[in-house]
Amino acid sequence: MAKELIRLSDCVMRYEDNLVLDHINLYINDKEFLTLLGPSGCGKTTTLRIIGGFLTPTSGDIFFDGVRINDVPPNKRTINTVFQKYALFPHLNVFENVAFGLRLQKLPEKEIHTRVMEMLEAVSLRGFEHRRPEALSGGQQQRVAIARALVNRPKVLLLDEPLGALDLKLRKDMQIELKRIQQQVGITFIFVTHDQEEALSMSDTLVVMDGGRIQQIGTPEDIYNEPKNAFVADFIGESNIIDGIMVEDRVVQMYGRRFPCLDTGFAPNEAVDVVIRPEDIDIVPVEQGQITGTVTSVTFKGMQYDIIVDFRGFKWLIQTTDHSPVGARIGIKIDPDGIHVMKKSAYSGQFGDYSSFSDEYEELDNASPDGEEEGAWHEA
């Protein structure tokens, strides 16, 4: 395992009565791609700004390579940032934007030139040196911002929702590009986003945050397959979350029926949340189904259908390639490894019911993150 580079220890951030970070503990390894993921106002940007040095935590410590850096200003940290909306200097051209940090170090003109041109080459922007930022497209500006940060050879690169302003196609390309750059320069990337798909596809380590707390830390696979609570389960991918009782190890009871599963370590008859991913459910004829329900809506999604099925008043989302018409009675079957059992938490009962499901669901979930920024910037 790589060595630890950054540690946040018991960090609290408070604006008057507003608790933004609630005792955050987090360590970040050298050369890893770590993503802070969460909805607006979860504290992810605040965490990033504490690492960057733009905010000082109300209490708690931050260590860099084992040294406490709470009081080290941003310009003294070997950390660089790619800002939301890039924050390129409008009065400087591309070359001077990238050269900004090097000029401050008073490097010889020749070295500055070499390094800037190398970096522009690396982000495929050679030939754009004399352009003003306003004469570039969003993706080009994005790459200038990355070049401007990386040219200083930082140990850590912070990226604050860097892809948020790009359109979908460009965003996909930049995801791949970013990952490639990270592997090429071989430094730690700390990435902030509210887009779970982006987070899953790019990260080595994923930190899911909500309400100023870390909900779960782990690899994308771990978090997807073994969410710790209803919030994580719902935020990462789609989940049906059903009240259940852990009868004994490897047996969970829902709707009065026993289902075999793989989970162990709960007290006998403990009330639990059961997570079933929509793609882990097989539709079978009624007589073969473990339980049965009625289809209430069908949406064609291209690769699959999203169908909503009513099971005794609780609506599930099922993703399937087989079409079932609205009103049909169907049976379902869930393999033991498709069932994931979680302890009850404060989030229980808030997520996982698709009664109000609509196509806008996705968009609503990805609401703009402005609310959080307001709080975080004011300290700057």
């Binding site: 733009f54 200003p73 310009n75 800002f83 909306k85 200097f89 003003r132 306003e134 200083n152 700057a380």
Partner: protein
């Protein structure tokens, strides 16, 4: 539709006519060869010429430029940092509250700001003198000046204080438009806050700073009211000088200087607007070419304009400081008089002979002078005031007794003008000028020569008569007509005189109540008859030969304006030197020729006809000389004003208000 647009155009034209006609008239008459604002007598640049040789004007231009440049510089720096401070406030409500507080001084009436600043400075000076007295008492190492006065520093502070809000107002939007992350980005890349300020914030908000500075500069140049209350006696801005010049007669010199001021402000406005439109256009364009050109310039060439600009600014500041300190080492005398009431070559001559610098200020009436003195804003050494005001100042112990051994020229003053009732023992005053009040009329507009005050109250020339717009002089015309003393305290007599005025006003006898507007009205033939001062009649006569002056048979008022020194004046010796110089025969001759008011100096009075003849190559008409310096026979019919008792002054005020002018 078509009709509509015609109407619109006509209406627009009317609006613009209304807005600009007065300025056009002002500009046109600045090129008038004559000295009237109503009668065109040919094209000439002589008023501009005269302007540039007028030391009072040039000195005030210097003061105005200095205070505007310095206050703009200080306010720009302070305002910019204040704007950044406001911008970085975390709480939006605090920010809004501060912005509102910032806006209040701009909306506030200038007069309130001016008076408030004046009172504040005077109060501070009071506290300071206590402190300095105590401090000087307990130690001898450093001696603090005990007496501070209003002057250039307070003027500068006042301008800085009213300029800061404009800079703030213009910089704040630029900060709001700026991406908040820019500063963070700069610091992230290795800047300290100060470096980020220079390298990133400043280039971003520069347009706001420049237009803020331009607005502040314009406001400074424009300001009159606040300067008036804070400049004290030793400095005066251009606007103040112009105002002082309007006291006696509105000569085209004022038109000339107003024209120039108008053009300067116009130029500033145009520059500001051009800058703004250019920026807008530029932000819409891609400035690739410009960027490439900038890139190709060598660093030296890029740095050159900045170095040159910096050097120029430095030189300007240094020059100002040097000339300011140069001035401060010279002995000084602060003089306050009426506008257009001295031949300014006398000031230069005095300075050359004695090495004493003269700060020559003007006010427009006895009453204004009095309120300036009372408020503590008028820190003069020598003042010129009229007889009745002098006696009021003596009564209130505001004058310093003169050392007449330092004023040998006092012996040249005619006995007639010594020991008059306003200063019975002649302890405080040296007369400056004297003259009579009479009726001025246009002989082509009346049936027969006028000899009586009656004409001021009869319907014969209703609508063509001009009456004084000050209570003392207006009441005097009525009292004289009724045969009462101009100094009566009898309320019955005063009420009777008032009734006479009120009736005449009710019957439409008066075209208007005027002071110096009488010049243009009589010169232009817009009114037939008016009561005014003899010296001013002679000025009007130059522009309209049909005018006649008469001291009515019932008698009239004669007046003396005298020089006095204020109590505790800091430059008493210089003040006495000045008074002695002005009382000399030579100075009186020069002055008499310039202002047309009679001199109290006996030699000067006797020599004046010969002096006039030598100067102009023609004899002075004896009747004109008699109007200027009334012979004893006329003077015997005239009465001097005395200061009225307090109750009577109140009664005057009450009557005047009842008249509803």
């Amino acid at each position: 539709m078509k009709r509509n647009s015609l109407w619109n155009r006509a209406f627009t034209a009317l609006v613009f006519l209304f807005l600009y006609a007065p300025i056009v008239v002002l500009i046109v008459f600045s090129f008038n060869a004559g000295n009237s604002n109503a009668v065109w007598s040919g094209f000439s640049l002589k008023w501009y010429q005269q302007l540039f040789s007028d030391r009072l004007v040039m000195q005030s231009v210097y003061t105005t430029l200095m205070v505007s440049v310095l206050s703009t510089a200080i306010a720009t720096v302070a305002g910019t940092f204040a704007a950044i401070g406001f911008h970085n406030l975390r709480s939006r409500s605090q920010r809004n509250a501060l912005t509102t507080i910032n806006n209040i001084p701009m909306m506030n009436a200038d007069i309130v700001t001016g008076v408030a600043l004046c009172l504040f400075f005077v109060a501070f000076f009071g506290l300071w003198s206590q402190f300095a007295g105590w401090f000087n008492g307990i130690q001898q190492v450093v001696e603090l000046p005990e007496r501070l006065t209003l002057g250039f520093p307070t003027l500068l502070l006042a301008h800085v204080s009213f300029n800061i809000p404009y800079v703030l107002l213009s910089v704040s939007p630029k900060l709001r438009q700026m991406d908040r992350n820019l500063v963070d980005a700069a610091m992230d890349l290795g800047c300290t806050w100060m470096q980020a300020f220079w390298k990133v914030i400043l280039p971003e908000i520069k347009p706001g700073i420049v237009s803020g500075a331009l607005i502040a500069f314009t406001m400074s140049v424009d300001d009159f009211i606040i300067s008036y209350f804070t400049a004290g006696s030793s400095s005066s801005t251009l606007a103040m000088t112009i105002y002082g010049m309007t006291k006696k007669r509105v000569t085209p010199e004022i038109n000339a200087i107003s024209t120039l001021l108008f053009l300067v402000v116009l130029a500033l406005l145009v520059v500001t607007n051009l800058r703004e439109t250019r920026q807008e256009r530029r932000s819409h364009q891609q400035v690739v070419a410009a960027a490439i050109r900038a890139e190709q310039r060598s660093p030296l060439r890029r740095a050159l304009p900045r170095v040159a600009g910096g050097a120029a600014a430095l030189a300007l500041c240094a020059g100002m400081v040097v000339s300011a300190t140069h001035r401060s080492n010279q002995p000084v005398v602060n003089v306050c008089s009426w506008g257009e009431y001295i031949d300014e070559s006398l000031i230069t001559q005095f300075e050359e002979e004695t090495g004493i610098l003269v700060n020559y200020q003007t006010t427009e009436s006895n009453e204004t002078l009095y309120s300036l003195l009372k408020s503590g804003a008028g820190d003069y050494d020598v003042i010129v005031a009229s007889d009745y005001m002098v006696s009021q100042l003596i009564e209130e112990d505001m004058l310093e007794a003169l050392d007449y051994s330092k004023i040998p020229n006092f012996s040249l003053i005619d006995q007639r003008f010594k020991n008059l009732n306003y200063d019975p023992d002649n302890l405080y005053t040296v007369p400056y000028t004297w003259g009579t009040v009479g009726i001025i009329y246009n002989q082509t507009m009346v049936e027969e020569p006028i000899t009586s005050w009656e004409v001021m109250f009869s319907e014969e020339y209703a609508g063509n008569v001009l009456m004084f717009r000050n209570s003392r002089d207006a009441m005097a015309t009525a009292l004289l007509y009724l045969g009462y003393s101009v100094n009566t305290t009898d309320e019955g007599e005063l009420r009777e005189a008032w009734q006479l005025l009120a009736d005449a006003k009710g019957r439409g006898v008066y075209q208007s109540f005027v002071m110096d507007e009488i010049f243009s009205k009589l010169e232009g033939g817009n009114a037939a008859i008016g009561a005014y001062y003899a010296g001013d009649y002679l000025t009007m006569l130059e522009n309209n030969e049909d005018l006649v002056f008469v001291v009515p048979e019932e008698g009239s008022n004669w007046f003396v304006d005298a020089m006095c020194v204020l109590k505790d004046a800091p430059h008493k010796e210089e003040a006495e030197a000045w008074i002695n110089f002005i009382a000399s025969t030579e100075a009186n001759l020069v002055n008499m020729d310039y202002i047309w008011y009679a001199s109290p100096n006996q030699e000067a009075l006797e020599q004046y006809p010969a002096y006039y003849e030598a100067l102009y190559g023609e004899a002075l008409a004896p009747d004109l000389f008699e109007i200027m310096a009334a012979p004893d026979a006329v003077l015997e019919r005239c009465q001097l004003y005395v200061n009225l008792p307090y109750e009577t002054r109140l009664f005057y005020n009450q009557l005047w208000n009842e008249l509803g002018i």
